[in-house]
Subunit: 362 residues, 2 copies
């Protein structure tokens, strides 16, 4: 009914409400609130009192339209329940918070359409960066798709960051934060080999997924380095989940039962493998050794505790955020850092109790 709606009756109080109640101009209120401008103590007190009374907070949308606004990072993941991704997200979130940035999380459920929709949604939100998490299938189409994302975002003043995914070829405005995936697998396989294992069941993960490919390559290189033949028949691809670990081991037990160790693509796969071995009456690690990859908390919760490859997920998240923050802050004129920046973090083997030398063959 009233000409100018009272703050209490119609949603949120605005800066105008505050100005009127305090008997000052909106400009003054804005100055007090942003704090980056000299104002008299008297004015500040008056304004702040009203702000408290009205429980006023500024409208982030209006602010961001007018120029200010909190920088926001968007994290896009396939599945929020994956432990590894949660750690990356934690790293991003933590580093973002430290800088007063906001972070958004979206899940794609492995659906390319949804991924596209989300990237656009984030573009609409005007996010400072979009972080895409997790392995991918590196077809030509992937490169094309990502290049398009990168350019779209770049044109909108945003930036694409790929974490744990293959870097983009050519001159594409995207940052990649990666870990030494193949090196980790090489070290892990070497660990098995040096313990004396020769017949090892390899469960790299989904065929075609870049992380799985890298892990497989690392393992193969280790075998070569040891001069040991690498039997392709001992490789079983499948999803990164415990069910696959279980069924793959079951099958292997039937078809190639002479393996003395399992090189699992992830800790979760290793957990499934361990279950299957036990179900078949094989002891771990006395009869069969198992190693994982990722070093999520699960690894040390299993019995025996799992020897695995530590991937610095949280650190990667932090690094990713730092990369976009730097580029944004250093960017008064030309952007800081080259486009197509590719950062690689190290991995290392964490030795626990799931590996023993193979039992002497009967």
């Amino acid at each position: 009914m009233s000409q100018r709606k009272a703050p209490s009756e119609a949603g949120r109080a605005t800066i105008r409400d505050v100005a009127e109640h305090a008997g000052v101009s909106v400009a003054s209120v804005s100055r007090v609130l942003s704090g980056n401008y000299p104002v008299s103590d008297e004015l500040r007190r008056r304004v702040m009192k009203v702000v408290r009374d009205l429980d006023y907070v500024t409208n982030a949308h209006a602010r961001s339209l007018a120029g200010g606004g909190t920088p926001t990072v968007a994290i896009l993941i396939n599945n929020i329940t994956g432990a590894a991704f949660a750690h990356v997200a934690k790293g991003v979130e933590g580093a973002a918070t430290l800088r007063g940035w906001l972070s958004l999380v979206g899940t794609t459920g492995d659906d390319p359409e949804r991924e596209l929709a989300l990237v656009n949604l984030m573009r609409q939100q005007g996010v400072a960066a979009v972080v895409l998490l997790g392995g991918a299938y590196d077809y030509d189409e992937y490169q094309l798709r990502m290049a398009r994302f990168a350019r779209s975002l770049d044109a909108a003043g945003s930036h694409l960051v790929l974490v744990g995914r293959p870097p983009l070829e050519g001159d594409v405005p995207a940052t990649t934060v990666d870990y030494d995936n193949e090196g980790g697998a090489y070290a892990m396989a070497s660990h098995l080999l040096s313990a004396g294992h020769r017949r090892v069941l390899v469960l790299p993960g989904p065929a075609g997924l870049t992380t799985a490919q890298g892990r497989l390559r690392g393992a193969r290189r280790a075998f070569e380095a040891y001069g040991i033949p690498f039997d392709p028949g001992m490789i079983r691809h499948g999803p990164y989940d415990d069910t696959h670990g279980y069924t793959a081991v079951e099958a292997a037990l039937r078809e190639t039962p002479d393996f003395t160790a399992v090189l699992a693509g992830t800790d979760v796969v290793a957990a499934g493998a361990m279950q299957a071995l036990r179900a078949a009456g094989r002891r771990v690690p006395e009869d069969v050794s198992i190693v994982g990859y990722d070093d999520i908390p699960l690894a040390s919760q299993l019995t025996p505790q799992l020897t695995t490859v530590h991937v610095p997920y949280e650190e990667m998240g932090r690094v990713a955020l730092r990369a976009v923050a730097d580029r944004r802050e250093g960017g008064t004129g030309r952007r800081k850092g080259a486009d197509g920046e590719h950062l690689v973090l190290g991995t290392h083997v964490v030795v626990r109790n799931s590996v023993r030398p193979p039992a002497p063959r009967g």
Copy 2:
């Protein structure tokens, strides 16, 4: 240099750029894009072509300022790496996506100040609802604090949802989505009791945390129902993590070693307990039975697979979102549903392999 900046040179293209390139008015572009208004096919085609050429997406901030905009839910959690919370988040996210809503995730790190800051931040963002996840310490202060949050958000046209936390007393505009925490504990403890266990080590969780209190109450009630004395000396409080499970069992092994079962506050605590038992040479479940609570994936990855209480985390997330969506959509005049709504979902015991009748006493 140009009067009106070209889209390609200065950040994001605007609706004006589209209008000019298409030779139509901004109003028309807006209509084509929102689709909720009749436009000629010719106009639609012209506009859409330019939209594609320019790779235009609307500015979400501007849109939301002007009235439209995507409803957004904010999820606030203590620690993003907690598996249980991840599932709630997944439920919320999934349901949000289904309705075209956006979801934000923020982490508080158990810091009340940060929690406050985040609630305000979300208020600034004009979110449709703020979902607070996880147990809490229900002091008077908690009630006051949450009531304040609830009213602040309500006044701003938003809404507070508490998930897995105690409901608010009095006439406070907040929705609570909860599960039958005490009932689950009662059932779980009964399961142990009916298997013949009498001396059970209880690890409820952090003293004072509402979830821990509820689980302890449930256990106690079960003992009473069985007419079995409940020894307070068998209760050991501590954090919901595997380290606590480990150290608590170690201590119990020294001080009250006659227990035949462990009733852990969460699956993760159970995992730690299991480790400690094994390290001390006790077999699970032959010598000691263990049960958990939550039924996160870990429960079925342990050996033996853990008997535990299933908590419908993902479902709770879905329900929480549905509650706020309903209230918002049903709200042309009066709000739908009473304030202080309290939804409670059921829990149930999932029997796996970690419980055996106690060994005959020597």
